[in-house]
């Protein structure tokens, strides 16, 4: 029997750091939770991530960054997504992000920020909530 379809999630890594262990662990956990996860690989521009999100018609976007450029690149991803008509797709972020930066990023529209030590179950549950809400609001 075919399991119920839970949704599609894009995991992208903007910026110049090459550390994608975290992104891959999250991608695997989301797949284990029943999502179809499209992984872009490292060093993608915000525009590349947005173009992939449109083609893959995803229900959420996860971005991971460890280089410290999150205050520039996370908003740039939001802007690129809005430019291709995906302004309402939930975006969740993770990486080495100082506590004091988190409120600002959330205010800009990043739905959740996961820092080192976050249990995987918390990550998958947050994606589940985000995808469910998005699909409901889009009438899917």
């Amino acid at each position: 029997m075919q399991p119920v379809r839970k949704g599609r999630i894009l995991i992208g890594k903007p910026g110049l750091d090459g550390h994608d262990r975290g992104a891959k662990v999250v991608a695997r956990a989301l797949s284990d939770a029943g999502f179809e996860v499209i992984y872009t690989g490292i060093r993608r521009t915000p525009e590349e991530i947005a173009a992939a999100a449109v083609q893959e018609d995803v229900d959420a976007v996860g971005i991971s960054l460890l280089s410290g450029a999150h205050n520039v690149l996370f908003p740039a991803v939001l802007k690129a997504l809005a430019a291709v008509g995906l302004g309402s797709v939930p975006v969740l972020g993770g990486g080495v992000i100082p506590d004091e930066d988190i409120p600002g990023l959330k205010a800009l529209g990043i739905r959740e920020i996961f820092t080192p030590g976050t249990p995987l179950s918390a990550v998958t549950e947050a994606f589940e909530r985000a995808v469910t809400e998005y699909r409901q609001s889009e009438g899917r």
């Binding site: 075919q2 939770a33 029943g34 996860v37 992984y39 993608r44 173009a51 083609q55 889009e138």
Partner: protein
């Protein structure tokens, strides 16, 4: 579709009942809107009446297509994705608008999947004339997903020629792609035991061209020598390429188009597409019959109650007869 309506987040959501949503999607596909193409493929993946409606509209708008559907199959690790990325580059430099469908397996346990083929395609990510879609096989065993044919149809309707379809890394019994595509290449690589696998698999007989990838590796020439008599006996082109450095890929593209032209001119293409569409119809019929039969079984007709395992053949015949009677 105007740019503003295309970019409004709600215009492409599926909350209306009168079918205008599906018509907007179909128009968007014809207008090559990336958002509409993405939504359209999701709709056919999810199946149901909306999918049928969409495919009907697209078929009516553009019933016959000259676009080539090119299958890329082979064992896992043979370099299918990397080669597909190279082929996309070649087709693009020749001025083609290209579609690429990459199928990866779904987990039978969770239903989830990690679709990683884009990693090798990202250099095309921002090219509006490269349409890429990753698909999970969703329980289907033939190396494709059930909606792959429909997704290819959508890409053709969106002006893609050719549409490349990269299968799940095949084992030994996954021939769906041969039926769906106009032309299929079998990708092999040295060091994977592919010569023996290919002989077992039957893909040698069924595919149209044999490609030895990783031509930059030492074992490639040995594999070529092993494959030469096999290719010769079957009258199939055999080419050596390196997807890594790109050597041989231009020749491969020329061979693809020359084969395709030959098929079109000799009428074999039409015959093949007819067979493929017949087989697709049979697939749909079997799928529908399976649902009907499962329902019949669930209702437990008296004749089947306490049926001994030995009488399975009788039970099966009874089910078929009952189904026939209800038609």
């Amino acid at each position: 579709m105007s740019a503003s309506s295309e970019n409004s987040p709600r215009s492409l959501s599926g909350d209306d009942a009168d079918g205008s949503f599906i018509r907007r999607i179909a128009e968007g596909v014809a207008a090559r809107s990336p958002r509409a193409i993405g939504r359209a493929i999701t709709i056919v993946e999810e199946g149901g009446p909306q999918a049928d409606q969409l495919l009907t509209i697209l078929d009516e708008a553009a019933p016959a297509s000259d676009a080539l559907t090119l299958g890329i199959t082979g064992t896992g690790g043979a370099g299918k994705s990397t080669l597909a990325g190279r082929l996309v580059s070649c087709f693009r430099s020749a001025g083609h608008r290209v579609g690429l469908i990459a199928v990866d397996p779904s987990s039978p346990i969770s239903g989830g999947a990690v679709l990683g083929d884009r990693i090798r395609m990202m250099r095309h990510a921002c090219d509006p004339d490269v349409v890429i879609r990753s698909m999970a096989s969703r329980g289907r065993l033939g190396g494709l997903s059930a909606a792959t044919a429909s997704a290819a149809r959508i890409m053709k309707a969106a002006g893609c020629h050719p549409v490349l379809i990269e299968t799940v890394g095949v084992g030994q019994a996954e021939f769906d792609i041969v039926r769906l595509a106009d032309l299929t290449m079998l990708v092999m690589a040295p060091g994977l035991g592919d010569d023996i696998q290919a002989m077992k698999a039957g893909l040698l007989e069924l595919t149209d061209m044999l490609v030895v990838n990783k031509g930059d590796l030492a074992g490639a020439d040995i594999l070529m020598r092993e494959m030469e008599p096999i290719a010769h006996d079957r009258g199939k082109p055999l080419l050596k390429v390196s997807a890594k450095d790109g050597s041989g890929v231009d020749d491969l593209v020329r061979e693809v188009f020359s084969l395709f032209r030959g098929m079109a001119e000799s009428g074999r293409l039409e015959a093949r597409r007819q067979r493929s569409s017949d087989a697709e119809a049979l697939d749909w019929a079997l799928e529908m019959a399976r649902e009907e039969l499962s329902q019949l079984l669930e209702n437990q007709p008296d004749e089947l109650k306490n049926c001994s395992p030995k009488k399975r053949a009788e039970a099966a015949l009874f089910l078929l007869k009952t189904l026939k009677a209800t038609m």
